[in-house]
Symmetry: D2
Subunit: 359 residues, 4 copies
Amino acid sequence: MSNKAVSKKKDLNVGIVGYGFMGRTHSNAYLQAPRFFDVAYRPVLKAVCARNADRVKGFAENWGYQSVETDWRALVTRKDIDLIDIASPNDTHAEIAIAAAKAGKMVLCEKPLGRTAEEAKAMVDAVEKARVPNMVWYNYRRVPAVVLLKKLLDEDRFGRIFHYRSQFLQDWTISQDLPQGGEGLWRLDSAVAGSGVTGDLLAHNIDMALWLNGPITEIAFLCRFQNGSLALFEATRHARGHKALFTLEINGERASAAWDLHDLHRLNYFDHRDEGQLRGWKSVHITDGDHPYMKNWWVPGLQIGYEHTFIHQVADFLVALDGNRTAAPTFRDGLATDYVTDAVLKSAKTKKWEAVPVA
Amino acid sequence: MSNKAVSKKKDLNVGIVGYGFMGRTHSNAYLQAPRFFDVAYRPVLKAVCARNADRVKGFAENWGYQSVETDWRALVTRKDIDLIDIASPNDTHAEIAIAAAKAGKMVLCEKPLGRTAEEAKAMVDAVEKARVPNMVWYNYRRVPAVVLLKKLLDEDRFGRIFHYRSQFLQDWTISQDLPQGGEGLWRLDSAVAGSGVTGDLLAHNIDMALWLNGPITEIAFLCRFQNGSLALFEATRHARGHKALFTLEINGERASAAWDLHDLHRLNYFDHRDEGQLRGWKSVHITDGDHPYMKNWWVPGLQIGYEHTFIHQVADFLVALDGNRTAAPTFRDGLATDYVTDAVLKSAKTKKWEAVPVA
Amino acid sequence: MSNKAVSKKKDLNVGIVGYGFMGRTHSNAYLQAPRFFDVAYRPVLKAVCARNADRVKGFAENWGYQSVETDWRALVTRKDIDLIDIASPNDTHAEIAIAAAKAGKMVLCEKPLGRTAEEAKAMVDAVEKARVPNMVWYNYRRVPAVVLLKKLLDEDRFGRIFHYRSQFLQDWTISQDLPQGGEGLWRLDSAVAGSGVTGDLLAHNIDMALWLNGPITEIAFLCRFQNGSLALFEATRHARGHKALFTLEINGERASAAWDLHDLHRLNYFDHRDEGQLRGWKSVHITDGDHPYMKNWWVPGLQIGYEHTFIHQVADFLVALDGNRTAAPTFRDGLATDYVTDAVLKSAKTKKWEAVPVA
Amino acid sequence: MSNKAVSKKKDLNVGIVGYGFMGRTHSNAYLQAPRFFDVAYRPVLKAVCARNADRVKGFAENWGYQSVETDWRALVTRKDIDLIDIASPNDTHAEIAIAAAKAGKMVLCEKPLGRTAEEAKAMVDAVEKARVPNMVWYNYRRVPAVVLLKKLLDEDRFGRIFHYRSQFLQDWTISQDLPQGGEGLWRLDSAVAGSGVTGDLLAHNIDMALWLNGPITEIAFLCRFQNGSLALFEATRHARGHKALFTLEINGERASAAWDLHDLHRLNYFDHRDEGQLRGWKSVHITDGDHPYMKNWWVPGLQIGYEHTFIHQVADFLVALDGNRTAAPTFRDGLATDYVTDAVLKSAKTKKWEAVPVA
């Protein structure tokens, strides 16, 4: 952002629930967004809430929160709070979000929205009834290379889509002590109500796919989109050697593209219009000033990291807020993902294809 | 091979059916194998058979075949032929193979063995009844990097296997004129009796998987192996930007490995025993003298190509022959793949998981 | 950083000169370092100084500087400033640094230290006479992958070093309007006193090389290190297609390693002790908790970016300060690089090898 | 090559000197070229010559040579020989080539042409005086990806060239027993008359550079081309971890390209005309039917290897022969490389830039 006279910013008072990994990424995003993006609001870190009073105090000091709470019910009714940010475990999402909406607060919620689509549906109803701004933290939508891909798709550069494939591979739960059994790995996860690899990792794959490639109509790991394309998804924590390998590839009639999180600035792009002898995959380093978000950061070739996706999301939320618009993914978008992951778990039990409801 | 006095080689008289793409790769393999490998037999190109007399004559001249035939029935009964090699279209495999076996000839057959498992089963019965050496040309088993991977698996370096995934991506059938419809691409192929992408590409994925990771018990694109691991397979000719991208990756408890055909000399290997800070994927350029087959070729760093997989297969066949042993994949191995591809096609229709019979 | 009670931090009052690209990276680093690293000091942004009063005010507002100055002479004598940070153009470095040192301030200076080694020598004399902490912003020393490489070298894993090569390739100055002529590209730069590609890009290559591989004794683009190894360096802004491709590779008797800035989390490492068939280059994604700096950020697989190198440098400076130690690279280290770049420019004129003085 | 009636081929009687690594690659090329390429001549393997009678007999049997010789003087005067191929050590090249030319034979010679430019000049004089076809085995000119690059350069797609860089990195001579000393590694080689890394590896870099980027005018490792571009070359056998890593990159005003021998089918290409947001390096897998030489081999995506470069060279030689034309690189081209490598060795001694004579 240039140094021209900074427009006077309006305060947006934030109260956050949770101080874990996501508490850190969100707090950082609130502080950094107005420094790097030209937004009308400056988030004010009013309060952080968690049950452990000592630890929450340390967190507040580190990030500059003005106060602490140990009961989220107290937080959501405070008059000096405009926005409730839910960064606590999945089983708390629905209750807090619904209460916050009823109290007229804007609500931001970590993903997955609910543990089940049923929970998520109740959350959507609450924010839509209260007409409050709402957003789910599917942060990977804000990787510059992914945003550029979305733009290329919207420009209809790909033509009819034939294939989509996406993985989220990790290896940190491989251990002799876990009951992985011949029962299959995803079963293990499906036993954990609303969480496990399905809600944790696969939800990212699904949200990204719905955003880039539209609604899914039926699924059995192999999945069919409304646009006729077929997709394969895989999310696991037993893929030895992979840390957080979130990948995606899309193959259309005229173009294809691929991306992964371990090399997040690269968009690999194949354009069928390229001349014959030189057809090939282009490795584009998405760090130029005309690439999404990048003019707000450094110069071509210099990279940003994971936490920047959250900063971008806050910046977009603040811009939308100023324009009385909604920043996606909304709770309704989050519900769409929950419908798909519910169908995945059902298909794992029935061993058949399962239809996916419309969100 | 060193220049020491070359052992006197025995003749092995070959009659081949078909002069297309595979006719060329097989013919080249028969000529090259004894020059680069220390084998007891030298294949003699006795006869090539095809219906077009003019073209078969040109082929014979180019490769040095001593005679031509235009009726395979004449070929399989010639006294001066030891081995019948079937490189003609899939719908001719069963009839020729069974007749050749009855005539007491060794039989080599292009893949897939039969158009259906039923056809393949009859072929297995014929060669096993006749007790003749038999082999299916699943040539990718002979890529040095893949052979090394097999060796590493056999040494139990991977521990329990969790995941296997394999693709064969091509794009050459994408065209406005083909009826690809919303019906799904693999359906198009499943309509073609025993051929299409399933028999053409997927069969390579399956044969390789069975060899490396053991029997498959049930399948629905997502597939389960007898060893408890789960796998995803994908074969398509509508993946824009990919020419012949045959890939595989296997994730075990202690190690993982990945390979692809576009960079066929690379084996990417992850060893969990590596020390903490330096854990990572090793990119091994499989061109050293102690790598499979490579001492017979050039020096470290210098590559071989596609046709060499056929040369290796002939060399292995000749060595086995001299030792009264069988070189894999035999017809029975080919049948195992046909059982799986049949189940794939069935699952595509029933939209359920389907069990795979034991070959 | 965990949420345990945050130790009360001491104030470190910062006055910065310059509000450009480097003004932003340094300001961000002062704010972020104490939030992510357990340091005893918290930098307080006391004042920013630049000639344009309007723009410096906008910068101060954005980053939270408490005051502005338009004359650096006023800044360096303010009683309420502990540390002067020089982020202004190269031709101002010496004068400001010497005045700041005389005023007893700690001095941090952007690279290259001086336009010439002569200037740099005067700066070293000033800070060493005043006995004030001093540091040069060669930020790439703080890339986690590079720090790990330094550690591996210090552990003597590489044995005798044979080769070092390093590039800094950019393309943004290629234009029809620039007088690039047959005279050669580096000549163009050598005509610009103390700046150009030599001081701008090559200085990074040299600083890194001196840190990793020790003193250079003579140079003519091909260069010899004191340890007997030979090196090739190349820095250019006319390498079409490259944005900020800073690369390095080091080949030792027992190990080799390579890194580049466009994929900054990867360390490619070759260990000669690896067993025969599996010798290869390991691609290590430097994002684990036991990798340099990374435990202060996110979880394995998640990346950081360019600005984090500055945050690390501030964190290290603050830790050193608390321990009455010096964080490198000091001004004396910066002088060593200036000696080398001076010799490069001389060699370009004499077309001979030139000796490099000891810093 | 299609199966249409094969045109009757004329015999070309070959006598080869040497049965080592290069004896094998040349022999294979003579046999394979007429099978895969539509050439008017079919090389007939008349005789192989080497001093060890037993080993040369084994070699002859393996490759089908009709006779053996143990004295090259007898070979070069045989009436039934059209072409002498010199695949023996460097110190035999000049004497054999000059005698063969005098005897009116076509002469093919392994690289480098002479041990010194002086030797090479005498060889050029001999073949040019005798007006016999002559060629040097700089085989890497025939890698399809490299041929395509040459074509792109000839089409002036790159505009003015700024940079060229090329390496040949190996590690097989690193050993405790070799006297590598502080004297520098390339010195070791320069002491070996006409051989060592300079003639063995660097000669390949130079020949390729002269072919792609035109004459070199002066050199000191950093080297200047007649077209004004600057280049860096490096050839070593002490680069731990590299097997035969022959690389090259060329940067022009409008385009850049890079290639390496470990991934020989890839041409990495950057086109400055590409639209802004999608500028990037294209990875082109040079295996299509419209790529150089590839229609004679398999189908898109399937690779060829090292020995194919020799097959291509023979095919080109035979085609040229039939058209009474010359296939490059001729002996005169080989002399140009020797002029450069001589200057490299001289510069290593004088520690100055040295001019390169015009070949």
